[in-house]
Amino acid sequence: MKLVYFAWVRERIGVAQEEVTPPESVTTVRDLLEWLRSRGEQYAEALKFPDAIRVAINQEHAGHDERIAGAREIGLFPPMTGG
């Protein structure tokens, strides 16, 4: 699946997007954040306060309990400051 990062999540992880294949045990958004944190220093730093991370699955807002099965694109980003 494709992961896309924005704002300080993007800056801290160091890439704007990447293709990943999480293990089968990763079923929810929360699992995904946990798994990403294990991937290295930048990920651990960017995602150290998971509650501060907002998530979109296929470009729609999603909660941390939501299942990621079938997601083509998951966006991870800080709280939005639109308008």
Partner: protein, 153 residues
């Protein structure tokens, strides 16, 4: 009502007068037109510009969903939303929300509703460029903006 909002995400400035004219011309059944323009503040002279990042595709989709919800709740006959991204200097407009209705309350309520949701739900992020040349911080989301949503529940 089954109206389709005109949603545009662009880096270019927009002309509010022209947008008003294009929505009101040829219509004789609408009594009320409300615009909200969000302008880049200079924060007491410390800010030179904002760099606005957005989630292409999702920004349009999410604003369209917010506009559709507004059109469900109030009898509006037209909605336009223009949200800019990229570098925006202080004093320049960032966002325009325009609503048209037969009656003023619907036009006001729909515009306020959309602005409240744009603040916390539209995927945009603002980074500060300070007058002293330093690239500042990402603007924090305000708790008051999140709380503003509860009045529409």
């Amino acid at each position: 009502m089954a109206i389709t909002a005109d949603v545009r995400i662009q880096s270019e400035p927009f002309d509010t007068g022209a947008e008003i004219a294009s929505l009101s011309s040829g219509r004789r059944d609408n009594g009320a037109l409300v615009t909200f323009s969000g302008i880049c503040r200079d924060e007491a002279g410390t800010l030179a510009a904002l760099e606005i990042e957005h989630y292409p595709g999702m920004a349009e989709a999410e604003i369209s969903r917010i506009a559709a919800e507004a059109a469900e709740r109030w009898p509006v006959t037209a909605i336009t939303v223009i949200h800019r991204h990229g570098r925006i200097v202080t004093g320049d407009p960032i966002v325009l929300v325009m609503t048209v209705s037969e009656h003023r309350q619907a036009a006001f309520a729909a515009a306020e509703f959309m602005m409240d949701f744009l603040k916390s739900r539209a995927p945009f992020w603002k980074k500060e460029h300070r007058v002293d040349g330093s690239s500042g911080e990402w603007v924090d989301a305000k708790e008051t903006d999140e709380k503003a949503l509860t009045r529409w529940e």
